[in-house]
């Protein structure tokens, strides 16, 4: 494309920001880890000789693969049910609302709820089925919890993909005499393959980075890397060793991201779906009633499990002390709105500031990497997602090390929290922008250009209206993340700025289960509100499949 006077300063600005807030802290941490009066590998030495770390590496990969498979299968089942089963509108909405629940809840909540439901004295395992020897800790418990938490990513991704598969194509196959299974196998499935691969990788990546779930459910029998890194730093007081472990984790994490990119770019590129041509609407008939029933049973069970978990959390928030004194009480909410109010206000303020800053950053970055050419474009894209790929613990420590001393003494301020979120969680918005742009034929922009419009005019008048849904999605994701993230920010909260998630963690570790639950309910409520507002706005923008703000949460 043509060179343009507006692009260069934008590139410089974005590059500068990424260099300062992604590369610089990571560089400082690399230096701390591998420089001891000279280049040194003594932080790594011994780490790989340790059986727990070797086991952790294997376990992390295994878990990511299993969660990826289970999550994708479950997500596909839900997506089929939602898109292809001709469900009434309200049930589709209800499905979305429940499915979103684990994805938007604060960390630890899902894992704790699962113990209440399926632990040795769990509501379902013991009180309903009378099982006494259930072991929820280890691979299976972690797998179950992470699958429940992350399958919505696959669901939302695949739902969008399935919705974009023109039902007319299936119709043609039917009229050629193919049976349902054959149509599914030879038409629907091949058309969704890139989406399935994408969903698998997104879910795997989320599992690779998750440290909260294994922290609670993994136990000593199932160590994984992000948790080991956290333990190395906070348990053995070995920051260099912990950092080294994180850099080890960076390898598979980046491989997954590279794979994910490859699929969305290479394979997805051949399915341009927004062309201006419109197919005739047709009634979907690719699922037999038996298949719909089967899907409904599977999905119904999952939905029931999720609901039980969250009802337990809700119950814990409205009784005096779950299990000890089950009388109803609003005392925990009272605490949230008195002593906890500052944390709520701080969190909301930070989340609200993050939205425009991060949304804008995401959209500009997404536009630059997918519609312009400049030297270092790939490198910029890669650098911008580093903070997302790395476990939060390490990002938090890196920020602490890099931004504690003048002239960049940012620790202790709200600024550092905002920056941390913006550069860690803008990826969703960037991806959304790229995805939307990939679906928009460049000829639309070319038409504007050939009519004589300058590049910035084209961007403002043509591109921006088209990517408004992406901006909105990016901002919504940022809001959700800012309300629920903890791993990085536990090191960045300060004497002046506190966060709700940190209060939840405190509640869980300090026996204040009721308070933790009340805070969790409040966060869930606020996030639902935000998502509802965003969806409404999306609908007004006619955003189609992007109407799900949650679509990009995983990416």
């Amino acid at each position: 494309m043509r060179r343009d006077p507006v692009i260069a300063p934008a590139v410089v600005l974005i590059w500068g920001a990424v260099a300062l807030f992604v590369l610089y802290p990571l560089g400082r941490l690399l230096l701390l880890t591998f420089w001891n009066g000279g280049p040194s590998l003594d932080a790594v030495r011994g780490l790989l000789g340790d059986w727990t770390h070797r086991a952790a590496l294997v376990n992390s990969l295994l878990l990511a693969a299993l969660v990826g498979i289970a999550g994708t299968v479950l997500g596909f089942a839900f997506a089929l049910l939602a898109v292809r089963a001709n469900l009434p509108r309200w049930s589709g909405r209800a499905l979305d609302a429940v499915v979103l629940l684990p994805l938007i809840s604060p960390p630890f909540t899902a894992a704790i709820a699962l113990i209440f439901a399926l632990g040795p004295r769990g509501l379902i395992s013991y009180h309903v089925f009378g099982l006494t020897r259930v072991n929820i800790y280890g691979l299976w418990g972690t797998l179950l919890s992470e699958t429940l938490t992350y399958f919505p990513i696959a669901y939302l991704t695949l739902k969008a993909v399935l919705a974009n598969v023109d039902a007319n194509l299936e119709d043609s196959a039917f009229s050629l005499g193919a049976r349902r299974w054959r149509v599914f196998r030879t038409v629907t499935l091949p058309l969704t393959t890139p989406g399935v691969a994408n969903a698998f990788l997104l879910v795997s990546a989320a599992s690779l980075a998750d440290f909260a779930t294994p922290l609670i459910l993994g136990g000593t029998r199932f160590p994984v890397l992000p948790t080991q890194a956290f333990l190395q730093i906070t348990g053995l007081y070995d920051m260099r060793g912990g950092a080294a472990l994180c850099f080890l984790l960076l390898v598979p994490a980046l491989a997954v991201f590279a794979g994910q990119r490859w699929f969305t770019e290479r394979r997805g590129g051949s399915f341009v779906t927004v062309t201006g041509k419109v197919g005739a609407a047709t009634r979907v008939k690719s699922l037999s009633p038996a298949a719909v029933l089967g899907l409904a049973v599977v999905c119904g069970l999952v939905v029931a499990l999720v609901l039980v978990c969250y009802l337990l959390i809700f119950a814990a928030s409205i009784v005096r002390g779950l299990g000890a004194d089950n009388s109803l009480s609003l005392a925990h909410y009272g605490h949230v709105f008195s002593g906890g109010l500052k944390a709520v206000r701080d969190t909301l303020l930070i989340a609200v500031i993050c939205m425009p800053v991060g949304g804008l950053f995401a959209v500009v970055l997404g536009f630059l990497v997918s519609r312009t050419e400049f030297p270092g474009r790939r490198a910029l894209e890669f650098a911008a997602m580093m903070n997302y790929a790395l476990p939060g613990t390490i990002v938090g420590i890196a920020y602490l090390v890099a931004f504690n001393d003048p002239p960049l003494a940012l620790t202790g301020t709200a600024f550092i929290l905002v920056v941390c979120y913006v550069f860690r969680y803008s990826l969703a918005g960037t991806r959304a922008t790229s995805a939307v742009l990939a679906q928009i034929d460049p000829s639309i922009e070319e038409a504007s250009a050939s009519l004589g419009a300058r590049r910035d005019v084209t961007f403002r008048r043509v591109v921006l209206p088209l990517i408004r849904p992406a901006l909105l999605a990016g901002m919504t994701v940022l809001f959700i993340r800012a309300m629920t993230a903890i791993s990085a920010t536990i090191f960045l909260v300060s004497l002046d700025w506190s966060l709700v998630t940190v209060r939840i963690l405190e509640g869980i570790t300090n026996l204040e289960l009721g308070q933790a639950s009340a805070f969790s309910m409040l966060v869930i409520l606020l996030v639902y509100l935000a998502v509802a507002v965003a969806s409404l706005a999306m609908r007004r923008l006619n955003a189609g499949s992007l109407g799900q703000a949650g679509t990009l949460l995983g990416g």
Binding site: T52, T220, V357, N404, A409, F459, F491
Partner: protein
């Protein structure tokens, strides 16, 4: 597009403007004690002196990691209330400096660092807390010996802390070491057997309290304040001690090296070791034993403590061997 970028920069600057340092004359404290225990004490100090205290509650490991990263520009003035092993690590990392409050000489030697880098504010002990309902269901007596826990009836029913994350776990390892007459091999043999009955090792020291309170596990081995908190909340828990004894570990206080408000910090530490403050531990039901001899101890706590056989801990030895003990635990006890 240029306009958009300008907007972005302006909003970034606006955010930067919101950032402000804490007002002067405020004391900044990092603590590992739960808010319910620490805040009343900090409030009492503010009420008495008018000096506001800003505090963050972090787990011991997070606290040390954070203070270490902030070494060149410390944000906290005092580290107040965290287990002794964290302070051993903090001393090694060079983030605290020696300070002797006026009453330092009266604190028993086993409750303070020889070079005064840190001093115990209180003595903490380990307890067995058992779920009363489950005990009855299985017709078990509450455990009163380390060996009781090896009974197959407890298989998959014990929760306790992971040695890599929790000071409580170190207390447990030390307790077993001292209870078995400082015979390290015997102590580790015992722990391997105990491991067979352990359901899960939790990441935080008090992490097993809720599961035990709710019956997900029968026994939780944790610190005294966790157990008393659970009882206070109304959970039916039985608190017992092993007759062979438990290690008495310290909850300490230290001055941060290069503290910005050094004067305020030392005054606060002086007050920490005054009888005024030491009496508060009892009055606020912290369920730890005050470090200063002569401080009040409630009769209830006293009688409870009579059952406990507290074994003195050699802080120097612990400082030198902590890492090795944890590594041995990882490589021998939990390896399968």
């Amino acid at each position: 597009m240029g306009n958009w970028l300008v907007t972005a920069c302006v909003s970034l600057l606006l955010v930067a403007g919101l950032a402000g340092a804490a007002p002067a004359q405020t004391l900044n404290v990092y603590t590992a004690w739960p808010e319910s225990l620490s805040q009343p004490i900090f409030r009492a100090y503010t009420a008495k002196t008018g000096v506001p205290i800003n505090f963050i509650r972090l787990s011991t490991g997070e606290l040390v990691a954070r203070a270490t990263a902030e070494k060149n520009n410390p944000r906290a003035d005092v580290i107040w209330g965290a287990p002794g092993d964290g302070f051993a690590a903090a001393k090694e990392a060079g983030i605290i400096e020696p300070y002797r409050p006026p009453t330092w000489d009266r604190i028993p030697a086993e409750l303070k660092d020889r070079e005064a880098y840190f001093t115990a504010v209180a003595k903490n002990t380990l307890v067995f807390m058992s779920n009363a309902k489950l005990l009855k269901e299985k017709a078990l007596k509450p455990p009163t010996s380390w060996n009781d826990l090896l009974d197959p009836a407890y298989k998959g029913q014990i929760q306790t802390a992971d040695a890599r994350t929790s000071g409580t776990a170190l207390t447990r390892i030390l307790s077993i070491y001292y209870a078995f007459g400082k015979d390290e091999d015997k102590a580790f043999d015992y722990q391997k057997k105990l491991h067979q009955n352990v359901q899960v090792y939790t990441k935080s020291g008090g992490g097993c309290t809720i599961p035990a309170a709710l019956g997900q596990a029968l026994v939780c081995i944790a610190h005294m304040p966790d157990a008393m908190e659970a009882k206070k909340k109304g959970y039916d828990m039985v608190v017992t001690f092993p007759k062979e004894g438990v290690a008495a570990v310290i909850e300490a206080v230290a001055l941060v090296k290069g503290a910005k408000n050094r004067d305020l910090a030392t005054k606060f530490i002086d007050w920490t070791f005054s009888k005024d403050m030491q009496d508060l531990l009892d009055k606020n039901q912290v369920y730890m034993l005050p470090a200063l001899p002569g401080a009040t101890i409630e009769p209830g706590v006293q009688s409870l403590m009579k059952e406990a056989r507290l074994l003195p801990v050699d802080l120097d030895w612990v400082g030198k061997n902590r890492k090795r003990l944890v590594e041995r635990w990882v490589n021998e006890v939990i390896k399968e």
